[in-house]
């Protein structure tokens, strides 16, 4: 199966980390809904792609998961941010801020600036 582009996978992972940081432990559906609310249609289709990303983060040690009870009292897997995950999120957030700032400056540049 074709892999997602690295950028897309990377952003999704960062969004997951940020969501968990803001809202505390959540199950997969909860995370998907939050991301959908904020990002618009990134997860409008293919919500399922979230699960391999969650697994990857867990194998990397950025999140931990355990079974718990959902709103309607069924068994659900809850994900929470680990200390390592928080550090990773902060580092990646900084990188993103820098990158977007540079890209933004490029987009605003006019011909005379480059002359």
């Amino acid at each position: 199966m074709r892999q997602k582009s690295d950028v897309q996978q990377g952003t999704l992972a960062l969004m997951v980390l940020k969501t968990l940081d803001l809202l505390g432990p959540l199950h997969g559906y909860g995370i998907a809904r939050r991301i959908e609310q904020i990002s618009g249609d990134l997860l409008a289709v293919n919500q399922g792609t979230l699960y391999p990303v969650l697994l990857k983060l867990e194998q990397e040690g950025a999140v931990a998961s355990e079974w718990g009870a959902s709103e309607n009292n069924r068994r659900a897997r809850f994900y929470r941010l680990t200390t390592g995950g928080r550090k990773q999120m902060q580092a990646e957030t900084r990188e993103w801020a820098q990158t977007t700032a540079i890209i933004a400056r490029f987009f605003e540049a006019k011909a005379e600036d480059l002359g």
Binding site: M1, Y29, Q47, G48, P52, Q59, E60, G61, N72
Partner: protein, 895 residues
């Protein structure tokens, strides 16, 4: 490290077969339930809510695969799956698997065997620290055509002082009589300068080296012995250090034992077997006085300074030579043109076998390549038989790359199995194989089937598997699926493209086989010519036995110090040996008189009446012999006379020369009655006879000038007894020993050989490489025959339907036969054309290995092509005969 942690988890999951299916299923269910509820809350009907939730979730199968891929190691999982599948296929077609594995086992095993030879000789022959810094110093008198004449002692001292080298050592070769053990033994020894071991850089296992700064001019009375001698003669005595050895009646103290596996980097096979080293500064008794133009025929080894290259050292050496020539104009006349060369030590040890070994490696590589082509052909045939299976799997969604990978896994597995079998055979037969290698193959370390060879075999297996698996794998991905599904089910198989590939493979195979066979043919002819060469002497029924008279350090204790002292001993030994059972004739001579012995005994020659302007004289090979030598060896005396019993210690010195020498020094004159001087001796020697040329120096060499001296007039120490008659090789050595030791019980008698063995031995290396190449060529021929048989059989079975129609329409069976044979011959012809062109190009690489034939010998080329064509015809005739007998009814009904 995040990735490391992730990898660890994945490996753990892979090993534990933890797939996480259950967890994913549960999470998905929960997700969909929650989404459905949310949809219902926003007003959808329950069915619609569920449907929308599923849609939003996305493709479940794809997700599951991604999830698995993340959880474990998909590459390894696929590999395992492929391997399992391949093993199952192999079990289903055991015949095919067996043929492939055997072909590969032969190819890879043979390649690894030859590689082990190359590994031990060419790749790493010198087991010394920084071997690349070791060089041999060789000097030539290019003006008088003398090569490698050896340095004199003052020249060696000049080199040492020059600062060009870290060390310069001299080494001689010889044997010494070790007494004190039960039977007097002859030990190969080297007198070396005290810095010899410091130069080589190998530490003694026990004790120490000689002191490299020792300035003693004569022998230091210290001895270093080899591990082998220590164990053999002293039972590995731990108290060996300080023990005294009696060598030629002189007493030496053992100061060191070299480690096992240490081999002397000598110039000859004998020198490389050295077991004892004695330190000497040379230039004092028992050697001659150090005179600048007196060359001792010693070897010189030097170690370059760590930062220096060979070129830098050579250019500084050239400058030194020029300044020495200015300083001593009388010793270095311009017309002698003294030159000193530096040759890498490795080159000087294994340079002579580089070409034959590389040729063998090339030949065995060709065999392997032909094997690969054959297997590729088989695989192609099978892949066309499996075409439908592949098409179905493709239709079911298997990716092309996935299919290709699976086919490649299969071929790699076959090749690895073949490699493994090859190595197993090699390993179990190694004792036998090592015995086939001639002893004369120069090497300083032991041949072994070791890890290096196994790693090589593994690499070769992988390469071979990829090579022969590539064609079917590439084709697997390339086909038009619909067409294939439609066609594959029926009798006709394989596409045009596949047929073309198979033809190309067979042509390649034929071309490679032809090249190999031509090489084998040329080598065989060279060997045959040498084998039947006119020797100029008759080795039949002749044996030689060696003995050695001691040279004590104190001349006063030498009981054979003058010809007058030695002659009675020689006469008595000869008289006794002539009485031995079966002996018809007996003679004696210097060791150099043993034909093909490769000993060098060069004398500077001055011919009376010739203008001698310089002190640099031409060098001729000389040997002293007893009166009956020429008759015993069957060397005819052409002019004058041979030696007689009257040419003894009291009579004036006489010599005989061979025809080559007569031609070189007395062109158009009769040398008989002329007078010459040899070496440092001032008294003239009269030439009394001219004998025919004989190939006593080497079988290949054109004749070299040779002078014979009368043994009774000399005091030579290294001797050989020659016997002709009805001899028993098993008892002669003991009988001769008894007779010699009856005269002097302290003398070692050794080295008994029959001359036919000596002649055969000098052909051993040639025979070895010729036989191997011949074996490889026959293997290649067999493979090529099988290849063309397979391909033509396949083409016939493919055209069975067509042949059936032709026969039904009235074609004669003979026409069908012709048609099939023509097809085979076309392939063979194309292969032969390519192969002949390749052989013409490649044969020149063999030029140095040939004797008596040119690399483009037409007879060989034509003959080999004819043989190959015959094999092609034989290979085609079985399928052709089958085609002729096709029953039209059966062939058509099959459709």
């Amino acid at each position: 490290m995040r990735w490391a942690r992730r990898l660890r988890k994945r490996v753990a999951n892979f090993v534990a077969r933890e797939r996480g299916d259950e967890r994913l299923r549960e999470e998905m269910e929960e997700h969909l339930a929650l989404q459905t509820e949310a949809n219902v809350r926003s007003g959808m009907s329950p069915e619609e809510a569920r449907r929308q939730a599923v849609l939003k979730f996305g493709a479940v199968e794809a997700l599951r695969e991604d999830y698995h891929a993340e959880k474990g190691l998909p590459f390894l999982e696929n590999l395992l799956q492929d391997v399992r599948y391949a093993l199952r296929t192999m079990r289903k077609t055991p015949g095919f698997a067996l043929v492939t594995i055997v072909t590969m086992a032969v190819g890879i095993g043979a390649t690894a065997a030859i590689y082990s030879l190359v590994h031990a000789t060419l790749l790493n022959p010198l087991k010394f620290p920084h071997p690349e810094k070791l060089v041999r110093v060789q000097d030539d008198l290019t003006g008088v055509g003398a090569r490698d004449v050896g340095l004199s002692i003052p020249e060696w001292r000049d080199l040492q002082r020059s600062g060009i080298f870290r060390y310069v050592s001299l080494e001689g070769g010889g044997s010494v009589n070790l007494t004190g053990s039960s039977v007097p033994a002859r030990i190969l020894f080297e007198p070396v300068t005290p810095n010899y071991f410091a130069l080589l850089g190998v530490k003694a296992e026990l004790g120490r080296w000689f002191d490299p700064t020792d300035q003693t001019p004569g022998f230091t009375l210290e001895a270093v012995i080899s591990d082998g001698l220590w164990k053999r003669a002293f039972g590995g005595d731990p108290q060996i250090l300080g023990r005294s050895l009696r060598l030629d009646n002189d007493s030496y103290r053992v100061v060191g034992v070299m480690p096992p596996g240490f081999h002397d980097p000598g110039r000859t096979p004998d020198e490389r077997q050295t077991e004892l080293w004695l330190a000497t500064g040379f230039g004092a008794y028992p050697g001659p006085p150090p005179v600048r133009n007196l060359r001792l025929g010693l070897g010189e080894i030097a170690r370059l300074e760590p930062g220096d290259s060979l070129e830098e050292a050579q250019s500084r050496l050239d400058a030194l030579v020029v300044s020495l020539q200015k300083q001593y104009p009388a010793d270095y006349p311009a017309e002698a043109a003294w030159k000193v060369r530096l040759v890498p030590l490795k080159e000087s040890v294994v340079g002579s076998v580089k070409q034959p070994l590389l040729m063998l490696l090339g030949a065995v590589g060709l065999v392997l390549l032909i094997g690969c082509v054959n297997v590729a052909n088989l695989l192609l045939a099978r892949s066309s038989a499996r075409g439908r299976e592949m098409a179905v799997r493709q239709a079911l969604g298997a990716g092309r790359r996935r299919l290709a990978r699976q086919l490649l896994t299969e071929s790699l597995l076959l090749s690895l199995a073949g490699g493994l079998a090859g190595c197993a055979i090699l390993f179990s037969a190694r004792g036998f194989l090592l015995r086939l290698v001639p002893d004369s193959l120069p090497r300083l370390n032991d041949l072994a089937i070791d890890w290096g060879v196994l790693a090589f075999a593994l690499a070769v297996s992988l390469a071979a598997g990829t090579l022969f698996g590539l064609a079917p794998a590439l084709q697997a991905g390339r086909k038009d699926l619909t067409h294939k599904l439609k066609v594959e089910g029926r009798g006709s198989t394989g596409s045009q493209e596949q047929a073309r590939t198979r033809r190309v493979l067979v042509i390649t195979e034929f071309a490679l086989s032809l090249m190999l066979m031509i090489a084998a043919g040329l080598l065989l002819r060279s060997f045959w010519d040498l084998y039947r060469v006119q020797l100029g002497f008759n080795p039949q029924h002749v044996m030689s036995v060696r003995l050695w008279l001691p040279i004590p350090n104190d001349p006063k204790t030498d009981i054979y110090g003058t010809p007058a002292e030695e002659a009675p001993f020689l006469r008595e030994v000869l008289r006794r040996c002539a009485l031995l059972p079966g002996v018809q004739e007996a003679a004696m001579g210097q060791t150099e008189a043993i034909p093909l012995h490769h000993g060098r005994n060069l004398y500077p020659l001055a011919v009376e009446g010739h203008d001698v302007r310089s002190s640099q004289l031409p060098m001729v090979q000389g040997a002293s012999v007893s009166p009956d030598y020429f008759h015993l060896m069957g060397i005819p005396v052409d002019r004058g006379r041979g030696f007689t019993a009257q040419d003894d210690e009291e009579a004036p010195m006489v010599a005989a020369v061979n025809e080559s020498m007569a031609r070189s020094f007395w062109p158009n004159q009769d040398p008989v009655g002329k007078r010459i001087r040899l070496g440092a001796r001032k008294d003239p020697i009269e030439v009394v006879g001219v004998v025919a040329d004989a190939r006593t120096e080497s079988l290949e060499a054109v004749q070299a000038p040779q002078v014979y001296l009368a043994l009774l007039q000399r005091r030579d120490k290294e001797l050989a007894i020659f016997l002709r008659g009805n001899l028993d090789p098993a008892t002669i050595p003991e009988r001769v020993r008894a007779q010699v030791q009856a005269v002097n019980p302290e003398l070692p008698v050794f080295g008994a050989m029959t001359l036919p063995d000596v002649v055969a031995g000098s052909l051993a290396q040639r025979r070895f490489s010729m036989e191997l190449v011949l074996l490889f060529a026959l293997t290649a021929l067999l493979l090529a025959g099988l290849g063309i048989y397979g391909t033509i059989s396949y083409l016939v079975s493919e055209r069975k339907h067509e042949i059936g129609i032709r026969l039904a329409l009235g074609a004669k069976p003979g026409t069908i036969l012709q048609m099939v044979l023509r097809q085979g011959l076309e392939l063979a012809g194309a292969g032969a054309a390519v192969g002949l062109a390749g052989a013409l190009l490649a044969a020149h690489l063999l030029a140095g290995l040939l004797y008596g034939v040119t690399p483009t010998d037409p007879a060989t080329f034509v003959g080999v092509t004819a043989v190959l064509t015959a094999v092609a015809l034989a290979g085609c005739s079985i399928p052709a005969w089958r085609a002729m007998r096709v029953d039209p009814l059966v062939a058509l009904r099959d459709e």
